[in-house]
């Protein structure tokens, strides 16, 4: 029987993120002996929140230094917990923090590691994507230990009642070598407004067409910016972009100042997960559309009836002028709210 270690780091508020609770639910579904391992500035609150998860014990590494997202201390903590748990399988959420630390921990443990796992079966077959979401593979490994990082949105989140949990603390010595890096804090990109909202129900994608000459022979970039931000506000959506549009922004042209490469969706951008997506003034070329793999319902507005979206990439393509359509949509959405 496998010994499953569910490994989690706490968030700034001491709790566990949704993605982390999803990984816990996936770990619970595997059967076997479950051990939980928590890393954070303090881990009691997180331990209590998962007191009913069925773990045979909860191990913890706690202290100020472990409240930060930092490779050196995260790897040391995860390694110590993995060793104390003597687990055959380690399941964790693919957060930026664990994605940075756990592959190196696998190296230390002599473990195999599978990242960006989108589904995990009870017999440990892992589904993951290759070539930027273009090919789907299902993989098995005989090697143990095996570290598995689960992408968010792929399993239901654990929702058991909180309780009082006992944490067995594991000591990790903080040597100077672990403290060569100091975490200063977080910063949002230059944009005044936070436009990337991973939990939004809808993703609005802006393409380079918004900055191109329109039927009057002129560009209307200021109008475009306003229409886009109005939509983001009234539909409470997240903002994505094609590469062409953010590249233009980067080249200092008179383009949309609230866009950065962080908004870029696609081959060399992100692959966000949202129930719905609306593409506007974006041609729907393959390197862009691979970033839409996890967008369930897809609609597009484009002047060109032969754009990429028409070829089986969207559910609905509206052949129309996005300036006119989005202005009207914004009006209607404002009236609804």
């Amino acid at each position: 029987m496998e010994t499953i270690l569910f490994l989690a780091h706490t968030e700034a508020d001491g709790g566990l993120a949704k993605a982390t609770l999803e990984a816990l639910e996936a770990a619970r579904a595997l059967g076997g002996v479950l051990i939980a391992g928590l890393v954070g500035a303090s881990v009691e609150a997180a331990a209590n929140s998962i007191a009913g998860c069925g773990a045979s014990k909860i191990l913890g590494v706690a202290g100020e230094a472990f409240g930060e997202s930092r490779y050196s201390t995260d790897a040391a903590a995860a390694e110590a917990i993995a060793q104390a748990a003597n687990a055959t399988v380690i399941v964790a959420a693919h957060t930026s923090r664990w994605a940075r630390a756990l592959p190196g921990v696998a190296q230390r443990l002599g473990a195999a590691v599978d990242t960006h796992v989108a589904a995990l079966s009870a017999d440990l077959k892992a589904t993951r994507w290759y070539y930027r979401q273009r090919i789907e593979g299902v993989i098995e490994r005989a090697a143990r230990p095996r570290v598995i990082l689960l992408d968010s949105g792929c399993a239901p989140a654990y929702a058991g009642a909180p309780g009082a949990a006992a944490v067995e603390l594991v000591n990790v010595e903080i040597t100077p070598a672990l403290q060569r890096t100091r975490v200063i804090g977080k910063q949002a990109p230059k944009a005044e407004q936070q436009t990337i909202r991973p939990d939004a129900a809808i993703l609005f994608v802006a393409g380079a067409g918004w900055t191109k000459k329109q039927k009057d022979g002129q560009t209307h970039v200021a109008d475009a910016g306003k229409l886009i931000l109005d939509f983001i506000g009234s539909a409470n959506s997240s903002l994505g972009s094609s590469k062409s549009l953010v590249d233009l922004s980067g080249e200092g042209q008179a383009v949309l100042p609230f866009l950065s490469h962080l908004n870029q969706v696609g081959q060399t951008g992100s692959t966000p997960r949202h129930p719905k997506g609306l593409a506007t003034c974006c041609h729907g070329e393959e390197p862009h559309v691979v970033g839409w793999r996890f967008i369930k319902e897809r609609r597009a507005v484009n002047l060109d009836a032969n754009c990429g979206w028409a070829r089986g990439k969207a559910d609905v393509l509206y052949v129309a002028d996005a300036f006119a359509v989005i202005a009207k949509v914004n009006e209607l959405l404002k009236a609804k709210s």
Binding site: S96, T181, D247, T268
Partner: protein, 269 residues
């Protein structure tokens, strides 16, 4: 600022993203149909790492950029024809499989071995660069394992910016959740930076750089070490997703009709 750096960039090659990819069963597990025929490019995020490395080397005279690449030699040579025109570098080539269905641990072992073989490498100047994820395996795990093998525990992933302080410290922006960056400061090299897009465009072609590079690139390709990877991965299936949707094309509808449909859809639970 008397600092200089040895920037070792790990970067593989991947099929040009505009190509159609189809998985097939190969002798050593899954492969791409006509893999050797597909035009290849430098893995995009590793490419950003290389351009950032070149910019850093320009800023700190006496610095040197190495590109360590594991790929089939013939394909790597094709890609180097373009890359060599852009960035002064020394190539360390490994001749082996560069596809996405290999195990990152094996790739990491090969890359770390090659880096350890670079003569005169000085840890106090060493910046290990790579892409934060490849466009092939997309695992984002290779570089951490390379760095571990080299004993580097100051590691950063999804890096968009590196600034060197007056005191030689490294101020780094990493992508984190929710479209934000984490800001960290690392005392000094050695450090690993897995780059995301960064802030630089592709450097322009420079024939002189190309000529200089070619003098060393061809010999490095010739002595590229044959490298085999044994994978612990068994593939239960490898398939293209069901791509095609039934696209309903709405033409000749009025703006009002279209807007109403979109607004209702967007607002629906």
């Amino acid at each position: 600022m008397a600092n200089s750096y040895q920037v070792v960039v790990c970067g593989g090659i991947v099929p040009d993203p505009l190509q159609t990819l189809e998985p097939v069963a190969g002798p050593a597990g899954p492969a791409l149909k006509n893999e050797m025929m597909l035009p290849a490019v430098l893995d995009p995020w590793a490419g950003h790492a290389l351009y950032e490395a070149a910019a850093l080397a320009r800023k700190f005279p006496g610095s040197k950029v190495y590109l360590v690449s594991l790929a089939p030699k013939a394909k790597l040579q094709q890609v180097m024809m373009t890359i060599a025109q852009r960035v002064p570098l020394e190539l360390v080539a490994l001749d082996g499989p560069g596809g996405g269905f290999t195990d990152s641990a094996e790739t990491a072992a090969a890359l770390a071995g090659a880096i350890q073989g670079i003569a005169g490498l000085d840890r106090s100047k060493l910046l290990l660069f790579g892409g934060w994820e490849s466009a092939s395996r997309g695992a984002g795990s290779t570089m951490q394992m390379v760095a571990e093998r080299l004993g580097i525990v100051d590691q950063f992933q999804g890096v968009d910016e590196l600034q060197i302080g007056e005191d030689g410290s490294l101020r780094i922006l990493e992508r984190v959740e929710g479209g934000q960056h984490q800001v960290s400061v690392c005392d000094a090299p050695p450090a690993l930076l897995g780059w995301a897009t960064g802030n630089l465009g592709e450097p322009a072609n420079n024939a002189q750089v190309g000529m200089q590079n070619m003098r060393t690139i061809m010999p490095s390709l010739q002595k590229a070490k044959p490298t085999q990877l044994k994978s612990g991965i068994a593939f239960a299936s490898v398939a293209l997703p069901k791509l095609q949707r039934e696209t309903r094309i709405v033409k000749d509808a009025s703006v009002d009709e279209i807007a109403k449909e979109i607004a209702d859809w967007a607002a629906a639970e």
